[in-house]
């Protein structure tokens, strides 16, 4: 059977505003305290009216631009009408025919094929989130409970073209999207908390007798983990392949079906309840005014967009000479981490050195101390200054590590370290790299004089005897480079 997998995604992203989209209630994930973040507006009480949150709109436009979308100069809000207990007005304020942005794209790298896939975006629009229904799972048919804390959270809906060709690509698309949205600081994208949610539309294009036959589309709802997205789509694809082989149906022969994903059973289940042919009766919300945006305003928002992950990765490889792997490790840690790296890199002037330290030493300490980069006691300029000394040959890597460790232990009391401490530590511990060869030579000569027998052994070719000699020199000259000392001893004894 010859077929192509066709996948389109609808992604919902909660925006990082302080307050809800149409009222002043806090926009916080707070499931343990139900119904404490509500007011007449988000309860949909009679007489209440919505007013658009400026920040929510700005974050939306910023995201639209980062997704390479066109930003509409005129946009408006419409009511999408359906009944559900978590939707108190029985309509969702959303955007119908004139979304604020459309026609974007995202490129993803697919390791298994080594190819770049461009996923086109149909649109991104701004709407309000619903509340949460909690169902009785005891099977005894008890009442469902409704929590409206989430009602009115600003929500961005991003809709892709059916350009995705595998479950793996779907996962990568989502992971890349999440990273980008986090760089933009428009969403925290916590799938567990529902601030990033995904629905997938899946079908096959079967090639048979020179004809391309699309099979019926199945929509998988509410995927709430990356693993879930990949597993659910894989599962659905297998089902569809099998269905084609046993009872081939074309698109249009059966109605589009909607299924949910049960991660515990690793299976999809058919959803009922919303089955009745949806007629959302969209119309412009008379309570909200349209929004117009000028090119200048768009440019201003564009200027607030930081360097995005894809661009950053490329720059690290092509300009700093990092391996794609190291570049990826840094970029994937998030915008703050990458900016830390950038600053270290600029201060010390050596990308590879900076990458080694940041991905190893810094990363290890962060993991051990369970810190975010923003809380890390050794700031980027300080680490950069240490590395600059290493790069300039003033400090050995080993001494650098000792300075770094001392800086960190100094910070045990919670104070932030200034760069002045570096020189003090170097001086205290005598870590400065000894560059006075006359002085090194004198110390070596003294050590050889005190250990004439050992020196003789080395002269006779017993090379392992050189170690203790180096050790004695190093004890007297902390800042010396052990490699250099070894060479100098050998030069003296064998020269």
């Amino acid at each position: 059977m010859d077929y192509t997998t066709i996948i389109g995604l609808e992604v919902h992203v909660q925006l990082l505003t302080k307050s809800k989209i149409f009222c002043g209630c806090a926009n916080l994930f707070n499931p343990d305290n139900p119904n404490v973040q509500t007011c007449p507006v988000c309860l949909g009480l009679p007489g209440s009216l919505p007013v658009m949150n400026r920040k929510a709109f700005q974050l939306s436009v910023k995201t639209g631009l980062a997704l390479n979308c066109d930003i509409a100069s005129f946009t408006k809000w419409d009511r999408k009408q359906y009944y559900y207990p978590d939707l108190p007005k029985a309509y969702q304020i959303s955007q119908f025919d004139l979304p604020f942005s459309a026609d974007g794209w995202v490129d993803i790298e697919v390791p298994s094929t080594g190819e770049t896939r461009r996923v086109r975006l149909i649109r991104a629009h701004l709407e309000e989130d619903a509340g949460k229904n909690i169902h009785d799972e005891s099977g005894r048919g008890a009442d469902s409970r409704v929590d409206l804390n989430r009602t009115g959270t600003p929500l961005l809906e991003i809709v892709t073209q059916p350009d995705i060709r595998s479950a793996e690509e779907a996962r990568i698309f989502l992971e890349d999207l999440r990273l980008m949205l986090r760089y933009l600081a428009v969403s925290d994208c916590e799938m567990q908390e529902g601030s990033l949610r995904c629905d997938a539309n899946v079908n096959l294009h079967v090639e048979e007798n020179g004809e391309t036959i699309p099979t019926p589309i199945v929509e998988i709802k509410n995927l709430n983990s990356f693993r879930g997205v990949e597993a659910a789509i894989e599962h659905e694809l297998k089902k569809q392949v099998k269905a084609w082989q046993t009872d081939p149906r074309r698109m249009g022969e059966v109605p589009k079906t909607t299924v949910g994903w049960d991660a515990n059973r690793n299976a999809t289940f058919e959803q009922r309840g919303k089955e009745e042919a949806a007629d959302y009766r969209y119309f412009p919300d008379p309570d909200l005014c349209p929004v117009t945006i000028t090119q200048e305003e768009v440019d201003e928002i564009r200027s607030t967009i930081c360097e995005l992950p894809g661009v950053r990765r490329t720059r690290y490889v092509s300009e700093l000479g990092l391996t794609p792997y190291d570049a990826g490790v840094i970029v994937d840690q998030g915008a703050e981490f990458a900016s830390y790296f950038d600053e270290v890199c600029v201060t010390c002037g050596d990308g590879k050195q900076a990458a080694n330290w940041v991905t190893q030493d810094v990363q290890r300490e962060l993991n051990e101390r369970k810190l975010e980069i923003g809380e890390f006691p050794v700031s980027a300029p300080v680490l950069g200054a240490v590395l600059k000394k290493v790069v300039d040959g003033e400090l050995t890597i080993k001494s650098g590590r000792e300075v770094f460790a001392t800086l960190l232990s100094d910070a045990g009391d919670g104070t932030r370290i200034s760069a002045e401490r570096i020189d003090a530590i170097i001086a205290d511990k005598g870590l400065g790299k000894e560059q006075d060869t006359g002085k090194i030579d004198a110390v070596i000569q003294a050590v050889l004089d005190r250990n004439a027998a050992v020196a003789e052994d080395v002269r006779n070719g017993r090379m392992q005897a050189v170690g203790p000699l180096i050790g004695q020199v190093m004890r007297e000259l902390k800042g010396a480079d052990a490699k250099d000392v070894r060479q100098m001893i050998l030069d003296k004894l064998q020269g």
């Binding site: 505003t17 302080k18 307050s19 009222c23 002043g24 209630c25 806090a26 139900p34 119904n35 404490v36 973040q37 509500t38 007011c39 007449p40 309860l43 007013v51 658009m52 949150n53 400026r54 920040k55 929510a56 709109f57 408006k76 009944y83 207990p85 229904n133 909690i134 169902h135 009785d136 048919g141 008890a142 009442d143 469902s144 409970r145 409704v146 929590d147 409206l148 949910g260 289940f269 058919e270 959803q271 009922r272 309840g273 009745e276 007629d279 009766r281 119309f283 412009p284 008379p286 909200l288 005014c289 349209p290 929004v291 117009t292």
Partner: protein
């Protein structure tokens, strides 16, 4: 004109439970109104923009500031059924 089937379909969308008698009467009265509004057929509206908002206002925003929410008791005060923490509704059939 509206048939009983039309009325039943619309009543479903409107979430209104109508008796047999009400369906017939609704079909009658809505048909009258619908036939009256066909008077609009004689108006030429080519090149006329629809007017959804009468006030010429755009770009109305509020700043992103948190205001105090209602206490939970107040939010649930008018609820037909509640357990003091949540609104309660008959079991939602979803995962059948």
């Amino acid at each position: 004109m509206l048939t009983r089937e039309d009325v039943e379909k619309v009543a479903g969308l409107a979430r209104l439970k109508l008796t047999e008698e009400e369906i017939s009467e609704m079909a009658d009265k809505l048909s009258q109104v619908i036939s009256y509004v066909t008077v609009l057929d004689e108006v030429d509206v080519s090149n006329v923009e629809p007017m959804a908002h009468v006030a010429d206002v755009a770009n109305i925003f509020r700043e992103d500031a948190v205001r105090e929410s209602l206490p939970r008791e107040a939010a649930l005060d008018n609820a037909p059924k509640s357990d003091g923490k949540y609104f309660l509704v008959p079991q939602i059939l979803e995962n059948a």
